[in-house]
Amino acid sequence: MSLLEQFPREEYLLKGNAACAGCGPALALRYVLKALGPRTVLVIPASCSSIIAGAYPKSAFKVPVYHIAFAASAATASGLVEGLEAQGIEANVVVWAGDGGTVDIGLQGLSGAAERNHNVTYICYDNEAYMNTGIQRSGATPYGAWTTTTPLGNKGRKKDLPFIMAAHNIPYVATASPAFPKDLVNKVAKAQKIRGFKYIHILAPCPTGWRYDPRLTVKIARLAVMTGFWPLLEIEHGRLRLNNPSTNLLDPARRRPLKEYLELQGRYRHLSEEDLKVLQRQIDEQWARIKAMLRVQEELEDQVEQGQGERQR
């Protein structure tokens, strides 16, 4: 399939918007909207995207948008989708929220909406800090990263929201990256077809906050995946699966050295060897957990299969 077949030409994020040059979230949103098409309504909480949108009376989005307060996006989407259903109107209701609006202030509402399993796709574009207000630490800021509120490097550990969402037993959870647009578009398209609450978490590099030359956005996004920092995976009806190229990265030897990812970013400039080890360990633990989960999942599936076989006998 050619690129053009996979990515419709139609642009729904219009040019001349207010995103910074080289904006990872803008790139990701461009893909998301191409995957969803015009019958989509975005709910956007306070975030960079409230600014990317441009200012009244112009909007950079070619789809309907409801701009809402920080904590309220998931609940607003709940009401929106139920209201549309009540009136027999079909549309994709999609939340497009940053990491602060998702893992911090919006988490209560997100958890509630997920538990109620509304037919909503919630997409978190994660640039790992409050970039819109000027690079303050969020719950999604990784260990060691500089922000204006962690001037000596973040001591906390990045909140693992995809797995927290998976624990809600919603039908679909996925991670994605703008460096792998085909994977991203496939996931959004798949989510669109599943009824219920879908959660997609996109790691979206921010040249302004991560302190790098904007031309490197895709490269850095790619390295985040290739070093194993950001595994591409999906959890469909509870079943975890790695996606290419992360499928190969269960073997640590296949992962690129973490340093390659970090050294391109000014926010890690001060990182000590000790810090690097801590961060590396976190990544190794993450992969060990994924490995264990895949193994347990397989064992469970075998058992269920055997059990069914026995009952049949």
Partner: protein
Amino acid sequence: MVELPVARPSVGAAGKTGNWRLFKPSIDYRKCIKCLLCWMYCPDGVISLSGKGLPVIDYEYCKGCGICAEECPVKAIEMVKEVEG
């Protein structure tokens, strides 16, 4: 009539963002293999395709981030300094 705070879709919601640019991507069409990766990776969607399938940059809105130059597999795009005036 109710004064509704609604904004309509428009190109250039933030103005002519081409003037944000310090460097300008320049495509060497002799090298271009029409892979369209530049089109795909452009965060601003300012690259369109000519009738011949060649990428064309809209300099009115290109912010000059340089992702296209970075991702071009045959190095057909070069970032050149904007000339003043």
